[in-house]
Amino acid sequence: MAVEVVMPKLGMSMKEGTVSVWNKEIGETVNKGESIASINSEKIEMEIESPAEGTILDIKVPEGEGVPPGTVICYIGEGNEQVEEKKEKDLPPKQKKERKKISPVARKIAQSANLDIHTLVGTGPDGRITKADVLQALPDEKEKQHNEPTKYQPVSMMRKTIASRMMESLQTSAQLTMTMKADVTKLTALQSQLNETASAQHDMKLTMTDFVAKAVILSLLEHPAMNSQYKNDRVETFEYVHLGIAAALDHGLAVPVIRHAEKLSLIALAKSIKSYGKKAREGRLLHDEIEGSTFTITNLGAYGVEHFTPILNPPEAGILGVGKADHMPVYHGNELCKGTILPLSLTFDHRVLDGTPASQFLSTVKAYLENPVSILL
């Protein structure tokens, strides 16, 4: 009896997984535990290990095709065995794709222009997409000539996820951004001082993000309203901090989550941030490691950005954007000195809390950063 290999479910919210590479071909023999394929889903790439020893009898899902979890992707068995596919009713229920009504002429025009019909709005009866609707969605001839040659490429699973999450965020919450500047002159001094020890004892350096993360965690514990989410007309507030740290990847981004960050010392937190960042860039994050964050920090300082308007990472109520720390003239009383200023941009969900508590939270973060010794204590 052939063994089925199915697309694994890598997390509660996983809807689709894609086989990125088959390491084996039909007819090849495999050992139990040997990697037979790489799959990717949203933000995770992982290897599938063979559950049995035998021969690959059939491959059901070609490279690049997305299928729901539970779908059989290949069969492994004895060399000359016949594969008995399970009947439709035995399979997990297929996800029903929303059926779009579209006229044959409209469908053909849309296909040849590479238009996704699910993005079109139909004006015919019951939303039927007509030729006129497709023509309206096509970029007009003049524009086409300007932009030629237009390149179309299917988007990656990660891009799809980012697209839908960001749209969901903007459409389902009342978010706005406020900004402050923190004078981190003392903090940068402390940072270089601490880094001597950190390099010696832990073989690593503390970054601005590490300090900001620590300041945020402490501030969240003082202002729990910022560490909550709006759900079904209730505000859910968390006593722990699962901190998301946005990490830029080559073709997207990932937000690894440091669970129970409130329990970590500064150095443990810094190590955690560093190792998750590495994992994210290597595409090795597990599904549980990108879920469940209660607040997120995103740092664009490395790219020279000052203030910006981060988009909430749903269902969180807040995200702090960290900009580039720059040297600037600063008044100390009447005296003008060289200072280091860090731009902070806080986006929060106005459904959960109002401007005053949000600004109080941001002020607390600022205060921690400006009196860095308090972070250490």
Binding site: S103, P104, V105, A106, K108, I109, S112, T130, K131
Partner: protein, 459 residues
């Protein structure tokens, strides 16, 4: 608040019923009998006369089907033909009146003219009345255009309405204009025994239709004894000698003597008595200017049907009347006249929808054409009506059906299939495996569609 509709033809009465169903208080003003040109002097009575001409021809051809008539040849009793025509018309106009009552629409008999943007003066046999309206729909229709040098005298120089109520079948008839109306009357009277001469200024009769189709009708009319002069201009109408002076293609002149001269050179919007200039409703020589919701430059005043120019067909007027009344009652709707079938009740019948070949080439450049002749269709042979063809025009990239033109038996009924295909935007390839019943005339449509890919079976 009251909605007043001026004109009880296809656009007006449909608008009235539509508005009444939105629970509007509706007043319909008409000068004559309800039903307008269509019911009283257009579509319906002409087709009733054509049916008599058809029946006469059928009976005459009984011998071909193996049936011998006892005694003499069949004879047309013109009075009886007229009586039957009137009874069909009456039943339909009564039907419209019934619908007005049923939908509680008040019908006023009289002439309406604008006093202001919300006031109308209704003139009825010397009595006049002013009514206030929140919204107004103008649906006054159209009337035949006279030759600039020869007004209608209703005796010798007649229009289509007069031609339907002639005291007897004329021995000879000169028809000026080879458009739809001219061809239909040529088809009626030539088959009833009149000697018909038709004069057309353009190089073809039916200049709006596909050339193939027009040429086919040209041949068939000539076979029925109609003399057709194309590229010919009428220079003079001599009422006393009953002669029409025509200048033919190369300047050669000829005179046509006939019992009547039917002028069928087109129809113009009926605007004169409305006093549109008084309040500044915009119009041009084609008719009242309207937007896609059938609104004039006054948003509360609508116009629909022939009075707006455009497609002068009763079924276009039904659609426009529905749109005008729905929009006036708060619905966000707009007119869509991309797929309007056009029917010409000649012998053989002609019907088309969408673009003709010439316009399709202009708009799309390369096109594909599939033709199928009724002479290869079993049912057409059974009917003894093998003349004509179905022609389908397809755009090659997506195989969108751009136009269908049919000349032949029951063309006006067959075109409904093509209208459905085009309305729902079917492509020629989706219809490849379509199954048409056998033996039917409909098979010719399927074969013509297959022929756009060179795949017709019986060809």
């Amino acid at each position: 608040m009251m909605l007043v509709i001026i004109g009880g033809g296809p656009a007006g009465y449909v608008a009235a019923i539509t508005a009444a169903r939105f629970d509007r208080e509706v007043v319909l003003i008409d000068q004559g009998l309800l039903g307008g040109t269509c019911l009283n002097e257009g579509c319906i009575p002409t087709k009733a006369l054509l049916q008599s001409a058809d029946m006469y021809e059928h009976v005459k051809s009984a011998g071909h089907f193996g049936i011998e008539l006892p005694g003499k040849d069949p004879v047309i009793h013109w009075d009886a033909v007229q009586k039957r025509k009137r009874s069909v018309v009456k039943q339909l106009t009564d039907g419209v009146r019934y619908l007005m009552n049923k939908n509680k629409i008040s019908v006023l008999n009289g002439k309406a003219s604008f006093l202001s943007a919300h006031e109308l003066l209704i003139d009825s046999e010397g009595k006049s009345e002013i009514i206030q309206a929140k919204q107004i729909i103008i649906a006054t229709g159209s009337e035949p255009v006279a030759l600039p040098f020869a007004p209608f005298d209703r005796e010798w120089i007649i229009d289509s309405k007069d031609a339907m109520t002639l005291p007897s079948i004329p021995d000879s008839l000169c028809i000026i204009g080879g458009g739809v109306i001219g061809c239909e009357f040529a088809s009626i009277f030539s088959r009833m025994g009149s000697k018909v001469v038709m004069v057309e200024q353009a190089a073809h009769i039916l200049p709006e239709e596909d050339h193939d189709t027009a040429n086919c009708l040209h041949d068939q009319l000539q076979k029925a004894g109609v003399e057709i002069l194309t590229s010919s201009a009428v220079k003079q109408l001599d009422t006393t000698s009953k002669k029409v002076v025509v200048e033919k293609e190369h300047g050669e002149r000829c005179e046509i003597q006939s019992d009547h001269c039917l002028v069928a050179i087109g129809r113009k919007p009926r605007l004169e008595e409305l006093n549109l200039e008084q309040i500044g409703i915009e119009f041009d020589r084609n008719g009242i200017c309207v937007n896609e919701h059938m609104q004039t430059n006054f948003p509360h005043i609508y116009a629909c049907g022939d009075v707006t120019g455009g497609v002068q067909l009763a079924h276009a007027a039904f659609h426009e009347g529905t749109i005008a009344a729905s929009h006036a009652s708060g619905e966000d709707v707009k007119v869509n006249e991309q797929v309007i079938p056009r029917c010409i009740y000649t012998s053989p019948e002609i019907a088309s929808v969408g673009l003709n070949e010439e316009n399709a080439r202009k708009q799309y450049g390369e096109i594909r054409i599939g033709k199928f002749a009724f002479s290869a269709n079993g049912k057409a042979l059974i009917l003894n009506q093998p003349a004509g063809q179905v022609k389908v025009i397809v755009e090659p990239q997506y195989q969108e059906i751009l136009g269908v033109s049919i000349i032949g038996p029951k063309a006006t009924e067959l075109i409904g299939q093509a209208a459905v295909m085009m309305h729902t935007e079917l492509t020629a390839d989706t219809l490849e495996q379509f199954i048409a019943a056998h033996p039917t005339l409909s098979e010719a449509i399927h074969e013509a569609l297959l022929q756009t890919n060179g795949r017709a079976v019986h060809c």
